[in-house]
Amino acid sequence: MAAQNLVFAVLAVVAVLAALRVVTTRNVVHAALYLVAVLGSVGALYVLLAAEFLAAVQVLIYIGAIVVLFLFGIMLTRPTLGRESGLDNDQRWLAGITGLFLFGVLSYVLVEAFGDERLPRLEGLDREALTAERGTGAVGDAIFSTYLVPFEVVSVLLLAALVGAIVLARRE
């Protein structure tokens, strides 16, 4: 357990530092690359929770698709190298307050929903029990029983996203 706590600490520190660099760096592409570090650390945290399918999804979707979309957008519109001046404005205080507010809301929701609940202990389980508990099959079971309706709603959401993308692109 001590090793896990240590790894968690390292990953958390890396994620927070990289996140700070995302908002403080003066280079848009660097910001996107620091974001990769943040998302990668979060993915490693999922592995620590034995949610390996989710970790791979994190890499495939967030790093392999969403950051690539960001980089695409940046490189298509402003492929300049070096620092840029127009990245900062005088709304820092407002942003800080919004961030704190969001942090408060999320903390409240988490505490309210889970309270004193503890994560199930993992270290006693052998590999097969762990797979049954947290593996891809368990994810599939959950999707097709408890979360069937949200799952089908996701389809509609994705459809809306697809139509939106086309409408945006056709307005050239």
């Binding site: 896990q4 592995v47 620590l48 034995a50 390996e52 399918f53 999804v57 495939l60 979707i61 392999g64 698709a65 969403i66 690539v68 979309l69 695409f72 957008g73 490189m75 298509l76 519109t77 402003r78 492929p79 993992l122 590999r127 891809t136 099959g137 994810v139 599939g140 079971d141 999707i143 097709f144 069937l148 799952f151 089908e152 996701v154 389809s155 509609v156 994705l158 459809l159 996203a161 697809l162 139509v163 993308a165 086309i166 945006l168 692109a169 056709r170 050239e172």
Partner: protein
Amino acid sequence: MDQYLPIVVMFVLAVGFVVLSIVTSKLLAPGRPTPAKEAPYESGIVPTSEPARRFPVRFYLVAMIFIVFDIEIIFLFPWAVVHRELGAFGLWAIVAFIVPFFLSFLWEVAEGGLEWGPVSRSRPLTDEHRTTTSTVRLVGMDGREPSEPAVRDRPAEEKTNEKEEVVT
């Protein structure tokens, strides 16, 4: 989780490999940069302007559609793993998940949302008034039957029609 220890070790060793080989290279290779070496290589032509700043928005559209598709596909994996236990119910659920999405994709293709390249112009390549009879001056026709050019017109006209179909 200890399954992922090899991945971490691999990561560290691969980075070590890179660092080691770069250090070796730095020791062995000469380091004599000159302005000519450091200039961007553009086939010997000295770059006069900044790199182009505008690219077709189509690229961005592809990236957006890619994300939507990717998320859609991710959900297929848990189903593929447990489909035996779920049976027909799972199949119907996944079909209900995929079909609306796929239909909208088909709609998009039909709408021309994924057309690439230059927009094909609807201007016909040939003018219907410009045929072989009006442009080609036949020499040495004195005293012959005038029906011959008309016969020769036929294939030319058919060709014109074909071209128009391709273009429009």
